[in-house]
Symmetry: C2
Subunit: 331 residues, 2 copies
């Protein structure tokens, strides 16, 4: 059955069953003009949105539709994690061509709903419409933080250590091997691209640990570190040898002749957290964050004065500028 024959009202009814929002803070979920939500006292709302477009962010043959649904939510939750906020609510909108199989859309929604359940997120609304061309999925998410406790990009201070969760370049490597039909040989890379994880627990742990600034790595380390430096009015020194990567990335880079460092710096879609901590506590505190999140946490460099710029400096003292390119959707 195609979406065009199934109809919008029927699709909305199915979504309403799938997304039964029984969250404790949901007063009105799907089925009215808008959702009505309780807000805990003493908290601020943290609110973000991301749009995913077929042919730009994903290709249908690359993944199962349920993986696509999970990814659409995960990349949004990553933005909340980067503020140190746990997610509470989500809206999901889909514009799809009438000739799309209804089951394909259901599977996207099911993947979305599964991750929402795992993360304690209530799906409280959205929109469905026809599309003249590509499949487009728009997601909006909301969480809370203690008032004044959100971790911004603007708080990094000279002398802070620079840390990342997990590994870099995995998703960029994963996209390449999927495109080239080698996904089975490097399952960790393909999974990093197809099923990115929002680092919610690491973000919450970073708040408690006293992180001074934070962002998620969606456009690549080079670009996202630049955001922190611009907003904080500082520079940064990164030691390339410290950048963490999966051994599968190292192997695939050798085999296919990829520029491994370039993938780690500008590959994008890692959805790891990049954050800063006062240098004197970084070593100790990173273990706490690693334990709570179950992720490796690595010190990769140090915040420097603004006129230092953003530079890659090796242990032998040789340095060069951080490449300036990140992923730009329009180029």
């Amino acid at each position: 059955m195609l979406v065009g024959g199934f109809g919008e009202e029927a699709l909305l009814r199915e979504f309403r069953n799938l997304f039964t929002a029984s969250g404790r803070r949901v007063s009105v979920g799907i089925g009215d003009d808008a959702a009505v939500l309780d807000v805990p006292a003493g908290r601020q709302a943290v609110w973000s949105t991301d749009l995913l477009v077929e042919g730009i962010h994903f290709e249908k043959p690359w993944q199962a539709p349920s993986q696509l649904g999970r990814k659409c939510l995960a990349v949004n939750l990553s933005d909340l994690a980067a503020m140190g906020s746990a997610p509470e609510f989500a809206l999901m909108s889909i514009a799809c061509p009438p000739e799309t199989e209804v089951d394909y859309i259901f599977e996207i929604a099911r993947g979305f709903a599964d991750l929402a359940t795992e993360e304690g997120v209530s799906v409280v609304g959205g929109d469905t419409t026809s599309s003249t061309g590509a499949l487009v999925i728009s997601v909006s998410v909301c969480g809370f933080v203690e008032t004044g406790e959100a971790i911004l990009r603007s708080g990094a201070v000279v002398g802070d250590s620079i840390l990342v969760t997990g590994n870099l370049g995995s998703a960029a490597g994963g996209m390449r091997i999927i495109r080239d039909g080698e996904a089975e040989a490097y399952p960790e890379l393909s999974k990093a691209f197809l099923e990115p994880q929002a680092r919610v627990q690491a973000g919450l742990a970073a708040v408690e640990a006293g992180a001074t600034s934070m962002t998620d790595i969606s456009d690549g380390l080079a670009s996202d570190l630049r955001h922190i430096c611009e907003e904080s009015g500082v520079g940064a020194m990164i030691e390339p040898a410290l950048l963490p990567s999966l051994s599968q990335l190292d192997e695939a880079s050798k085999r296919f002749g990829w520029d491994r460092e370039s993938l780690m710096l500008t590959g994008g879609e890692d959805y790891e957290l990049l954050f800063t901590l006062p240098g004197d506590i970084a070593g100790q505190v990173k273990e706490i964050i690693a334990n709570r999140s179950g992720l490796p946490v690595t010190v990769i460099g140090e915040i420097m004065p603004q006129d230092f710029g953003i530079r890659l400096v090796s242990a032998d003292g040789s340095g060069r500028e951080m490449p300036s390119c990140g992923y730009e959707h329009f180029r």
Copy 2:
């Protein structure tokens, strides 16, 4: 200059300047991973989203891009108005083909920003990305209500009067005359389609007046009244002669041979409010709502027991079923 040459980062910078969110409740606006917003004590958040797709909801030649920007926000604010909530915050995402003129996108954003300013809405974030096909605009809006005061679709009671703000069928008529190149002869109709107004003040007044249920008329009276009846477990009797319309709709219907009543019942995109009030106070209270909103407010029928169905009944007692069709995007 085309968007593809201008680049995503540059576009985001322009948006950030345009949408300078100086609202009293905005702690962090555009420029971080997510917005951080203050929530007033004793209120619930009301949250909604709508997706507009080129070729489905709009065609570029039909309106100035600034009108399109205004409309994208207005249709979202209409959902909040239908809950009895004043809007506070908005997110705007755009997916556009790289060959789009940058000025075209700026004008959309400017129209959006202008209406936001007029309505006291802070634009606190969004997303920009390339599109492989159509221009797609996704908007999410948030407002507040006193806890427990949101007006739902589910509160209508037998004996309630059924009311609408403004006029019906204007936007559907407007779309036809724009499509047929006759827009200048019927400016009120074309304006109703191109520049719909969210009935925010009427929605707030309806809360104070004790409205028992409410929705906005986006799919047409027949479809949206059905939503209220289904959610409230009631039927409805509408008197066709009471349905309010612009004299331009009457004139154009005669001239072009349109089924005027059909446009009023199933045309869609009116964005007027449809609500119910206890029958004994409806006559008196509707004047208060009309005065506060500056709109005509009309009693068009009465809530009946569920087994009555949803029927059009004329003054002479002759009746028939309400047509069941509303606008379905996939058909």
